[in-house]
């Protein structure tokens, strides 16, 4: 059950990857990368249920935090041309 759900999420992130590669504007690409990051968090949580290793929940939390910070940094770089 969890394996099938994980496969569906991986397939939908491949669709988002297509949008990230061929997006017309930069904001499509940022949104697609953000979607892929969110789906990666979900896949990590599902891997925790598949292999019954609760350590993966910690990794999923770290991935969620880093994904948020990376998106903020990327958008700020687009907006101002710098990180400050």
């Amino acid at each position: 059950m969890f394996l099938q759900v994980a496969l569906v999420i991986v397939f939908s992130s491949i669709i988002a990857l297509y949008r990230a590669i061929s997006g017309p504007t930069i904001y499509d690409r940022v949104l697609a990368v953000n979607v892929i990051g969110t789906k990666t968090v979900l896949v990590l949580v599902l891997v925790e249920f598949i292999y019954e290793r609760p350590e993966f929940l910690d990794i999923a939390l770290v991935y969620a935090i880093i994904n948020f910070i990376g998106t903020i940094a990327f958008l700020k770089y687009i907006e101002k041309g710098g990180l400050t």
């Binding site: 350590e55 910690d58 990794i59 939390l61 770290v62 935090i65 948020f68 940094a73 990180l83 400050t84």
Partner: protein, 160 residues
């Protein structure tokens, strides 16, 4: 909202000029919530390094990324009031001092370098656990300070 002042343009329209504190308000509020939670999570990763995934380096990176988020949202000048250059250098060297100090304490009490069983903390396994925890705290302090200073250097290079 009482800081909002109205400017009348040449064509007679009145334009509301918002103060800087109201710009990017979503980003600021989210960062104000996320920074302490991220720091708490970094401390959790450092403390549970011996029993789960993570450790000193990973927890230090998470601690540093909390400060990086603060710098991104509130600016370098605001962040340097909180973490100055000298405090950052002090944190870097303090972590190395903790690491090397615990290693040398093991030599003083008759073991090899970083052989925690030699520490006089009761049971040898208890001594080993506490020694690993101390070393990981040192690594975490150093890594977080190094991450912050790498980010400051990169941001100032982009600014030039």
């Amino acid at each position: 909202m009482d800081e909002v002042d109205e400017h009348v343009t040449v064509t007679g329209e009145s334009v509301i000029v918002r103060p800087v504190e109201e710009l990017y308000i979503i980003r600021r509020i989210i960062a104000r919530i996320m920074v302490p939670l991220t720091q708490l999570y970094g401390l959790y990763v450092i403390m549970h390094g011996e029993g789960g995934p993570g450790g000193g380096f990973q927890g230090g990176v998470i601690l540093g990324s909390a400060t990086i988020l603060y710098v991104l949202v509130f600016g370098v000048d605001e962040a340097k009031k909180r973490i100055s250059e000298s405090l950052n250098n002090l944190m870097k060297s303090t972590g190395v001092l903790i690491y090397a100090g615990i290693g040398l304490l093991c030599i003083i009490f008759g073991g090899y370098y970083l052989e925690y069983y030699a520490l006089p903390l009761g049971h040898p396994e208890k001594a080993s656990e506490l020694g690993i925890l101390g070393v990981e705290i040192g690594i975490g302090i150093t890594v977080s300070a190094v991450m912050i200073s790498i980010f400051f250097d990169l941001a100032e290079r982009f600014e030039k």
